[in-house]
């Protein structure tokens, strides 16, 4: 079975958390969530926000749209009778252009975020489907799941069964290696044959793949082979 799900949403009293590590974790998660909510509010409603948060370890996290500093300056300025603060983009023409670019890229990022999140949901659902299929034994081949060896190895206690499983696995491994090798031989031989002056003929079951022209040199020397095959890698030759 998959790992145990978390405790879920639990009601919590709004008072300082007593346990230090619990506090750290909470801070980390909630800060992240807070910024997320702020980001969404900015996007959805087109407003400007600045948030400052000091961590338990005395570090500062800040979120600002359009920028932390511009919001803070604006706020501080509005309380006194100060003239507008510095800002290289105060010329309204450039500033507007800047803002247009910025909001375009934010828009794009939001779309990407949405897409990726959706993809994650799709794959999560797929994962759950796979879990269910495994449990109910309907996975593709439709074989029953009563095979004892499907349960987690950690829970097995029968020595005999374990050893039987081991030998089956070893056997399977051999089969896999054999099949892989066969595939690779097919692939590389059909590829290599022209370069080595060998004619490739259809593979028969005994694995003898080549008709050799008797008067051609055999490549039995590594250096020769390298010569034959040393073409540039970036080429789309193969």
């Amino acid at each position: 079975m998959a790992k145990k799900p978390s405790l879920g949403r639990q009601k919590i009293a709004i008072a300082k958390i007593p346990k230090k590590n619990h506090l750290q974790v909470t801070f980390s998660k909630r800060r992240s969530g807070l910024f997320k909510k702020a980001s969404e509010l900015c996007t959805l409603c087109g407003v400007e926000i600045g948030i400052l948060v000091f961590s338990p370890a005395n570090k500062v996290f800040s979120f600002g749209h359009p920028e932390v500093d511009s919001i803070l300056d604006r706020f501080l300025a509005s309380k006194g009778a100060r003239s507008d603060g510095g800002g290289s983009t105060h010329n309204s023409g450039t500033r507007q252009l800047f803002e247009v670019h910025r909001s375009a890229s934010i828009q794009e990022l939001n779309m990407i975020l949405t897409q990726v999140t959706e993809q994650l949901e799709v794959d999560k659902r797929r994962g759950e489907g796979l879990d269910k299929a495994t449990r109910s034994g309907v996975g593709g081949g439709g074989h029953p799941r009563q095979f004892w060896w499907e349960s987690p190895v950690q829970e097995m206690n029968g020595m005999e069964e374990l050893e039987q499983l081991r030998s089956s696995l070893e056997e399977l491994k051999m089969h896999i290696v054999g099949q892989s090798t066969r595939l690779m031989m097919d692939a590389s031989s059909s590829f290599m044959a022209p370069f080595l002056g060998l004619e490739y003929t259809a593979r028969n079951d005994h694995g003898d793949q080549f008709d050799r022209k008797p008067d051609r040199d055999q490549v039995n020397n590594a250096a020769e082979l390298v010569q034959y095959l040393s073409f540039p890698q970036e080429n789309g030759l193969f």
């Binding site: 506090l23 509010l41 000091f54 803070l72 994962g127 074989h143 374990l162 896999i176 290696v177 890698q233």
Partner: protein, 289 residues
């Protein structure tokens, strides 16, 4: 709670937007307040909107000014180190989700291939027919899962025998390697990690033997060392994009030469037990620099 999903984009409808703003602003303030209380930390929030002349401020204008002062008194670097705007924040979020996605897909793949393994185990009696339709990628990932399960089995056997030594005799010598490997190392490594590192350079480039699960975890390494006599089972190095294995092809050539050179001499550079230095021409071959 919300019943409909809201797309992450500016709300065109004026009244809807205003309503959303009111609700979410309230929620945001609540969240800041909770964060501050729960964790005993100082915070402030300033919200400008077209709906209010004055910004919404938490905890208060005075409180916010105090917090801002504390902020501004910090060194420049400390201020900007954890500062984000929308773009930066969104990129971070995207990165996080992409990581989760990668992990989820990897887990899914492992589940799939494990199912495949169960089916293959069932069909062992009929020969290796179950494996015939599979691509090299599938086979490689399958091998990885088989290897992983084997390690778990050996570990389990070991732990059971150490608990009650009166049970079955220790596993045969061939398997003792795998047993050791399973216990002390994580799933990522195979035994003889040093050897693995030697050859890792060769295998780093993408090649046909790189399955989704088995990337950089060559499960067949142990096998290579054990099967020196096995013809053609050379190292399958990567060789650029289209990844055909020259090495195995090459060896196949050699073994077809009449008379075939004794397996040991032609292949031993590949299969020396230490998994040590490959013959120089191999490296050039795959990675001309």
């Amino acid at each position: 709670m919300t019943r409909k999903k809201v797309t992450l984009a500016y709300i065109g409808n004026d009244s809807a937007r205003k309503a959303t703003f009111k609700k979410r602003k309230k929620g945001l303030i609540k969240k800041v307040s909770e964060l501050s209380t729960l964790c005993g930390i100082e915070a402030c929030a300033v919200i400008y909107s077209p709906y209010d002349t004055e910004p919404e401020v938490w905890p208060s204008a005075a409180g916010a000014r105090r917090t801002i002062a504390r902020f501004r008194n910090m060194p420049e670097m400390d201020q900007s180190k954890r500062m984000v705007n929308q773009q930066v924040f969104l990129r971070q979020r995207i990165g996080k989700v992409e990581e989760q996605l990668k992990k989820q897909r990897r887990d899914n793949r492992e589940k799939e291939v494990t199912e495949l393994m169960y089916r293959a185990l069932t069909g062992l009696g009929e020969g290796s027919s179950a494996l015939h339709g599979l691509s090299l990628l599938d086979l490689n990932d399958l091998g990885w899962v088989v290897e992983k399960t084997l390690r778990e089995v050996n570990e389990r056997i070991r732990s059971l025998t150490t608990k009650s030594p009166s049970l079955t005799p220790p596993p045969p010598g061939m398997m003792s390697n795998a047993g050791n490997g399973g216990s002390s190392k994580s799933d990522d490594g195979l035994l003889q990690e040093d050897d693995q590192r030697d050859v890792k350079g060769v295998l780093d480039a993408p090649g046909i033997m790189d399955g989704v699960l088995s990337l950089q975890q060559p499960w067949y390494m142990e096998l290579l060392k054990q099967s020196e006599g096995l013809m053609g089972l050379g190292k399958f190095g990567g060789c650029g994009d289209s990844s055909y294995s020259y090495s195995s092809g090459h060896e196949m050539m050699m073994t077809h030469n009449p008379p075939p050179p004794p397996p040991q001499s032609s292949l031993s550079p590949y299969l020396c037990p230490g998994g040590q230095s490959l013959p120089p021409w191999t490296s050039n071959f795959f990675f001309p620099s």
